[in-house]
């Protein structure tokens, strides 16, 4: 039941905790950050914070003080924020983007004496519907954190949104592990972020394969002196693993398997795609794994188990991951999500949502979405539509549908390609044929 602030006080190295374009924060000051009267002890607090430096200061100030922290992605509509807060029982909002909220600006020396074990409520990513909530404890979230003399010298750059699982892992490793966390200012382009990271001496980076490909395509990426390159959140294929190793030859290239559902996953350090088949027999640090009909099931071995109503758990305590695998010799390779769930640049989307949105167009009679592999974002969506009576000609119809979808759907759910066809394939059961 050690708070984040106490872990920071006890961390190896000490010194500078956080570097942002706004300046440095020392570990000593961070451990005394508090909100005073603005956030009473024992309150359930929601966070929607766009500035990563403010986010980090806020979680350090409130872990152990708040009864619960509900981590929301910044930029959610006010209605969604209110709905999630009500569901989670949160009564105070700390935010630099939502109106009428407490500003995420805790002061050194204002931390009250408190010893609560804060519930961390994380929300899953997704493009449609209300995000799902999964509850954790700090002990579980920090299970894979390593803290020693070596980790005290690591300088982590934060590319991820820290309110998400992958970003929070980076934050906790840097804060507790004794290293320094370097965060960008909100609104920076990735080229600016990379230049800032290089200037600040970043040695460790964690990002999705999509973001790594982007870094490989930006000249500023070459300025980084990386010792560690971690890929996660999407399938890391052989191509991106090899390209990262070639660009940063001094870096250890690791890809990790982790999900909000699982708590913490595991990492693969040999630079090859998938993971060794021996993991299935022997387990891997922190988790036991098994395949049932090519489906990966995982069981966290220690720490707090994640709790969430939608998790499917079997009698032995294994959780169904939803990831399809394939055995290839002595490797187990990732083959994508089950059913039709697609991963587009790290965002999990349901192709059916695009179909429904396309059918809302007055000149669309039928719609079918297929998921196509893509070397830049992992996959993209391809939409085939059939025209309704009175619809304009092919190209004009495609453009009109594209324009309408652009206004109603998030970027990742928009089709990369729109085709107009005379008819769609219908299976014997009367369902649209979704090619595998």
């Amino acid at each position: 039941m050690t708070s984040l602030a106490a872990l920071i006080r006890a961390r190896p190295g000490g010194g500078v905790l956080l570097t942002s374009p706004g300046g440095n924060l020392s570990a000593g000051d961070a451990a005394t950050l508090g909100f005073g009267e603005a956030v009473p002890q024992g309150a359930a607090v929601a966070l929607a914070i766009a500035d990563p430096a403010a986010f980090v200061r806020t979680i350090v100030a409130l872990d152990g003080v708040a009864e619960a922290l509900l981590l929301l992605a910044p930029g959610l509509p006010a209605g969604t924020v209110a709905e999630l807060m009500e569901k989670a029982g949160a009564t105070i909002l700390v935010s630099d983007v939502n109106e009428g909220a407490v500003l995420p600006d805790p002061m050194p020396g204002a931390r009250p004496e408190a010893g609560l074990e804060t519930r961390w409520i994380m929300t899953t990513s997704g493009t449609t519907g209300l995000p799902k909530m999964v509850e954790h404890r700090l002990s579980g979230l920090a299970r894979s954190v390593v803290a020693n003399d070596r980790t005290a010298g690591h300088v982590w750059g934060l590319i991820y949104d820290p309110s998400r699982f992958a970003g929070l892992q980076v934050v906790l490793q840097a804060l507790i592990g004794g290293g320094r966390l370097v965060v960008p200012a909100p609104g920076m382009t990735m080229a600016d972020e990379l230049r800032f990271f290089a200037e600040a001496g970043v040695t460790h980076l964690s990002a999705t394969p999509t973001l790594w490909r982007k870094m490989l395509m930006l000249p500023a990426g070459a300025g980084l002196a990386l010792q560690q390159a971690t890929l996660g959140g999407e399938i890391a294929d052989a191509a991106v693993l090899r390209a990262v190793a070639a660009q940063w030859p001094a870096a250890h290239v690791t890809h990790i398997y982790a999900s909000t559902e699982l708590g913490v996953g595991f990492s693969v350090k040999d630079g090859l795609p998938g993971f060794p088949a021996s993991y299935l027999a022997d387990g891997v640090k922190g988790a036991a794994l098994k395949l049932v009909d090519d489906m990966l099931w995982a069981k966290p071995l220690a720490g707090e188990r994640p709790r969430g109503a939608h998790l499917e758990t079997d009698a032995d305590g294994y959780i169904r991951t939803g990831d399809r695998m394939e055995m290839a010799g002595d490797r187990v390779l990732f083959r994508g999500r089950e059913s039709s769930l697609a991963n587009i640049g790290g965002m999990k989307v349901q192709p059916e949502h695009l179909e429904q949105a396309a059918l809302a167009h007055p000149h669309v009679a039928g719609a079918l979405v297929t998921v196509k592999a893509n070397p830049i974002t992992g996959s993209i969506l391809q939409l085939t539509i059939t025209p309704a009576p009175g619809a304009p000609e092919g190209r004009e119809l495609a453009l009109s549908v594209k324009q309408q979808l652009k206004q109603t759907l998030p970027r990742e759910l928009q089709p990369a390609i729109v085709r107009v066809a005379e008819s769609l394939d219908i299976s014997a059961s009367g369902k649209l044929e979704r090619p595998k």
């Binding site: 973001l211 490909r213 990369a416 390609i417």
Partner: protein
């Protein structure tokens, strides 16, 4: 139509779908991701070029390569067009 002209045409088409301003001039040393096109837009560019040209050098290539400049991008496609 030559490869460079085709790539420019598809690039400009995708640009016009996302922007109200004219597309940038594509010179050999133009950094692709600093033109204002993001990863999603490049994913779309590669997918549409696959449709139009009938190949995708990224998945066909054994040499792992993510071109940074427009000239490199064109050369990457030209190399595979002749194979």
């Amino acid at each position: 139509m030559n490869i460079r002209a085709k790539i420019t045409e598809v690039f400009n088409e995708i640009w016009a779908e996302d922007h109200d301003v004219p597309p940038p001039a594509l010179l050999d040393d133009t950094v692709l991701l600093e033109t204002g096109m993001d990863s999603m837009a490049f994913a779309v560019l590669v997918a549409r070029l696959d449709e139009e040209l009938g190949f995708d050098p990224f998945t066909q290539s054994d040499d792992v390569y993510y071109p940074r400049e427009f000239g490199e991008f064109v050369a990457f496609y030209e190399k595979f067009a002749t194979q």
